[in-house]
């Protein structure tokens, strides 16, 4: 049995169905990339998995080591070992990273005595300036600093499975490399990874085992790293018959490069 098992997952936001039956199995140490244009349902998938307010599930199952994730409130999903690295991490004035991680570690039954030392070590490892550790969560941080902060928390909490929602957005190449390497090290230690991304550049750093193409709320193709090469050569049309799935996508770009396709 896979560590994270998503079966026929259906759901959406407000009253709009967006996911039309997602199937995905992630084993320990595997890195899966989910790629697709805007509107394909990438962020909805991450929101539904973590239980973001406003999103709903209308069918299907999600289990983590056999436990029914969808039956749990958000905090229990996290404590059970599912972690979401957010595309736009919230600014929380007056709340320190230490206070959150101490609470988070306690809920996992883990020792919280050496949070400061752990943070210092991990911050150095990903090039996160120690001065930021004294700030309120994500307050007065650039987009890149916020993503390093997300990666830092991931490394301290060491979940079973991490969902990376557009980790690469807002990151310069150095920061992307630092964050991707830390994720890769964690996956080598057994963490499963679901990297949701718009662009192929993350894949150059993260080297996924599996690539899935998400179009209109369905995974329309799955394969190994070679799938990225197919996308690069033939574009999306190979999987969609010219319809990229985006509401305002033009359908005459069958010969466009991957980059053009994902800029929609």
């Amino acid at each position: 049995m896979s560590m994270l098992s998503i079966s026929d997952l259906r759901g959406g936001v407000a009253d709009t169905d967006i996911l039309h039956g997602i199937n995905l199995n992630v084993d320990a140490g595997e890195v899966h990339a989910i790629m697709g244009p805007n509107g394909a349902g990438k962020s909805t998938l991450s929101a539904v998995l973590m239980g973001r307010p406003g999103y709903y599930v209308s069918g299907g199952t999600v289990t983590l080591d056999g436990a029914d994730i969808l039956a749990m409130p958000t905090w229990q999903r996290a404590a059970a070992g599912l972690h979401l690295v957010m595309q736009y991490p919230s600014e929380v004035p007056g709340v320190s990273i230490q206070s959150v991680l101490i609470e988070a570690l306690q809920r996992r039954g883990r020792d919280d005595d050496d949070v400061d030392a752990l943070l210092a070590t991990e911050a150095e490892r990903i090039g996160f300036a120690p001065a930021f550790l004294a700030r309120s969560l994500n307050v007065d941080m650039s987009g890149g600093e916020k993503k390093r902060n997300e990666t830092l928390q991931l490394a301290v909490l060491q979940p079973k499975v991490a969902i990376l929602d557009e980790l690469d957005s807002g990151l310069d190449i150095d920061a992307l490399r630092d964050c991707a390497r830390r994720v890769e090290d964690l996956s080598n230690e057994g963490m499963g990874v679901v990297a949701i991304t718009h662009y192929s550049r993350l894949l150059e750093e993260l080297r996924p085992d599996h690539i899935h193409i998400l179009v209109k709320g369905r995974i329309v193709a799955s394969g190994g790293p070679e799938l990225a090469d197919v996308l690069e050569r033939d574009g999306y049309a190979a999987f969609t018959g010219g319809d990229a799935g985006d509401e305002d996508a033009s359908s005459d770009d069958a010969s466009s490069s991957l980059d053009d396709l994902f800029r929609m």
Partner: protein, 356 residues
């Protein structure tokens, strides 16, 4: 002799008393009696004599207080820098009406910290009508903190007035946790050029409490500045009102004035109102005002929950973080640590109620 029975009370029909609970006040229920007042006076600058040196009376309650002989005077000599805070604690007996008054005279270039606490000697209904009157001679620096920790059945209708000379620095701060109805009218008058003021308040009302603030930043001289930060939370069926006015006279050019009021509504049945106002009669000024009323930000809560923090703990962290911005701006006295603990206790009570 104080006559509470014939007090010409205002009504909530008057704009200045809008939203207030003034119509529920029954002064005749209370027996006039001075507060029992303890004073920590490490520098020997306080005196208590049965006199009244009250001057301005912006309303009937201030006028009532002006008749009271329950006065503490603090005279800080010119040039003196008082390191340790002066701490005045008023104990209000149940059933009584207390009218304590504190007069602060800051000499030229003097510096002091004054803390005034209001506590109930016993639980039950009481009325407290305090007045602070502070005068800052040129270049004086005063940090003042009022802490209202009265019983939740008590009434407090208070006034704080500070008049600032040239190049003075004023911190006028308030923490309100207590009272059934607690109203504070606070006014900082920049009378001398170059004067600066900061007004700060933390309020947290629960149960049936109501906290009501009327705040004035009055600029009556050029090159003056004022900055206001009021942050409050209401839970259960509690209510709060903030009405702020930045007033800038014709001659107060090159002035900067800012007011920010933020309110958290922690329960469906809680209610908060925020009304910032500007009255600017000259150009060449820098002014801003911001106000918000609303529940805890859903994205902030989800963010913390997504790390594995349960909802009630996430809420506690966010509310404490919200208040820490104010706590950091209060005078650095031990009492402030106790204030933070009281805020935590109050939130814990709330989460117990949610669970039961």
């Amino acid at each position: 002799m104080l006559d509470l029975k014939s007090l010409p009370l205002p009504t909530a029909d008057e704009e200045i008393w809008r939203y207030s609970r003034i119509d529920l006040l029954q002064p005749e229920r209370f027996t006039p009696s001075p507060a029992r007042t303890d004073i920590v006076d490490p520098h020997g600058v306080c005196s208590t004599t049965a006199t009244s040196s009250a001057s301005a009376s912006p309303d009937v309650f201030a006028a009532l207080n002006a008749e009271s002989m329950n006065e503490v005077r603090i005279d800080v000599p010119a040039g003196a820098t008082l390191e340790a805070p002066i701490i005045i604690t008023h104990h209000i007996d149940a059933g009584t009406a207390a009218l304590p008054r504190t007069i602060v005279e800051m000499g030229r270039d003097a510096e002091a910290t004054v803390v005034e606490q209001f506590v109930s000697a016993a639980s039950g209904v009481a009325l407290c009508v305090p007045v602070l009157s502070a005068h800052l001679d040129d270049a004086a620096r005063l940090r003042y903190l009022a802490v209202n920790d009265l019983d939740t059945e008590a009434w407090q209708i208070g006034h704080q007035l500070a008049e600032q000379g040239r190049d003075t620095s004023l911190l006028l701060s308030t923490v309100t946790l207590g009272g059934y109805y607690t109203r504070a009218r606070t006014e900082a008058r920049a009378l001398g050029s170059g004067s600066q003021s900061r007004q700060v308040a933390l309020y947290f009302a629960a149960g049936d409490q109501m906290h009501d603030f009327r705040v004035i930043q009055s600029h009556e001289a050029p090159h003056t500045s004022s900055d206001l930060l009021f942050k409050g939370a209401v839970q259960d069926h509690a209510r709060s009102v903030y009405t702020g006015l930045i007033s800038i006279d014709e001659n107060a050019r090159q002035t900067s004035a800012h007011q920010t009021n933020r309110n958290l509504t922690l329960s469906e049945g809680a209610w908060a109102e925020s009304v910032p106002n500007l009255d600017i009669r000259t150009n060449d000024v820098s002014c801003s005002h911001a106000s918000t009323v609303g529940p805890i930000d859903a994205e902030q809560r989800f963010y913390l929950e997504s790390r594995g923090v349960p909802p009630e703990v996430a809420e506690r962290l966010v509310v404490l973080g919200f208040f820490d911005e104010v706590i950091d701006r209060l005078p650095r006295v031990d009492i402030v640590d106790a204030v933070r603990r009281r805020v935590v206790e109050r939130l814990n009570i709330a989460s117990e109620e949610v669970r039961s």
